[in-house]
Amino acid sequence: MGISIVIDAVYFVTAAVFIIGLKQMSSPVTAHRGIVWAGIAMVVASLATFGAPDIKLDIGSINLQLMLVAIILGSAVAYITAKRVAMTDMPQMIAMYNGMGGGAAAAIAAVELVKLSAGAEGHGLTVQVLAVLGAVIGAISFSGSAVAFAKLQGIMKKTMRLPMHQIMNIGLFLAVCVFGYLVATGHPVSFNHVIIFFILALVLGVMVTLPIGGADMPVVISLFNALTGLAVAFEGFVLNNAAMIIAGTVVGSSGTLLTQLMAKAMNRPISNVLFSSFGSDGGAAAEEEIEGSMKEIQANDAAIMMAYAQKVIIVPGYGMAVAQAQHKLKELEDLLEARGVDVKYAIHPVAGRMPGHMNVLLAEAGVDYDNILDLEEVNPEFPTADVALVIGANDVVNPVARSNPESPIYGMPILDADKAQNVIVIKRGKGAGFSGIENHLFYADNTRMLYGDGQKAVSELIAGVKQL
């Protein structure tokens, strides 16, 4: 009794601290504090669990030994990968850790169901149903996240769409429901049903994720994140663990909202993300004739233009991240500022491949927070800028989003780089952006193309400015 009150209190405080931590994480000023608090709570909760009265963890028991090995193993792998990975590869790592959580929830359910199939006494229908729900959701999140990881990591290159994909998915879903029903209501539960049920759920997770394009992945990962939260909450009910119930539900609902917010920032309804791949509709059909031509510029000339400008706005995009040009950009900025040029960065909310992608990279390079402007702040400034330097950005400066209602990106707010006096665009060639459509900006009279890899091109600009 005594120890169990302590543990209950720990779980209670953990749940509260998680909520406060999440709240703090939603503001840049307090975010770091928030995760540290949550981390401390997690450690304390885990330690307290060793003392839980209803588990047998005598020193020397096989359970304890294996448990410690498992904890060390899982922690070590996660720690090393998380420390090592490049910032730009973070989304797939989040997918992986999230998948692990979903898998763990499913595994918890599996143990409970295996116990039931071995004839253990159940906790009643409700609990069994919740266990099964958590199992489905956790398993889908697990295998789906694995596919998401594989895609972003480049292990699996193409978006795969089998013939009659949607119909197969519906069939699979129904099958999962049937076996889920059998497992949830069976007493005793059939072991074979449990096996089939899990396999079906895992396959469903893979099938749902396969046809989704790599660049839609942040939204999908966020969705799986919310699902894992829900699965954890359901298993929390099964294990009667309040910390799991609350933390899981909180993540489930906040994750759902976050998924909506992310999809909205990209101007893509979630249903679109899940059920139709981008660019397969619209695209070519909606293409208009483009007037004008793409006009090249040499790095030296571009450097002169910027060095004698009063105000330069840099618009980074996915290409800058690919080229890892952020450190060079910062160098260029310092040079220009030393010459008295006013340099600002314009960040579109969905530039790059994950929300905040550009901010993270620029911050990494040490760019001053105050020089980084977001869409609403910067758009009124373009008309007074002498040069807009677009580096590896495409869709986010495509004026067609303002003008052509048939374009797949129509309606997305864009950075008005075309309103600057001069526009310099750094890219490697004629490659299209994420949406695969042509960009009228590149053909505008005041636009000059500076071809080359982002990092190389900026280095040339730096050299050019230094010569002056």
């Binding site: 498992a70 294990l239 119930i245 489930g252 976050l258």
Partner: protein, 103 residues
Amino acid sequence: MIEGLPALYIFMLSAFTGYEVISRVPVILHTPLMSGSNFVHGIVLVGAMIVMGQAEGVLELSIGFIAVAMAAGNAVGGYVATVRMLEMFQHKPKPSAGQEGAQ
């Protein structure tokens, strides 16, 4: 202990809380916040430990082992990833090359 009606209430209130708590997050924090909430459901570790502690026989022990290992990975990986991302948002300028982990 937490069953029936109280369980439902706790579920409902947690859902409201989660929704409201993050309803003002700026776009640049979307990814760190996703990572942070990913960490939070790492609390599944506690559940995995309980199940593992009650496991009997090879099959249960094996599944329990997987559950604990994965849950630990969720928690630790989620934490480290979040902290690394959030460190980028700390205001102090940093040396512009050789960042740990960045290529």
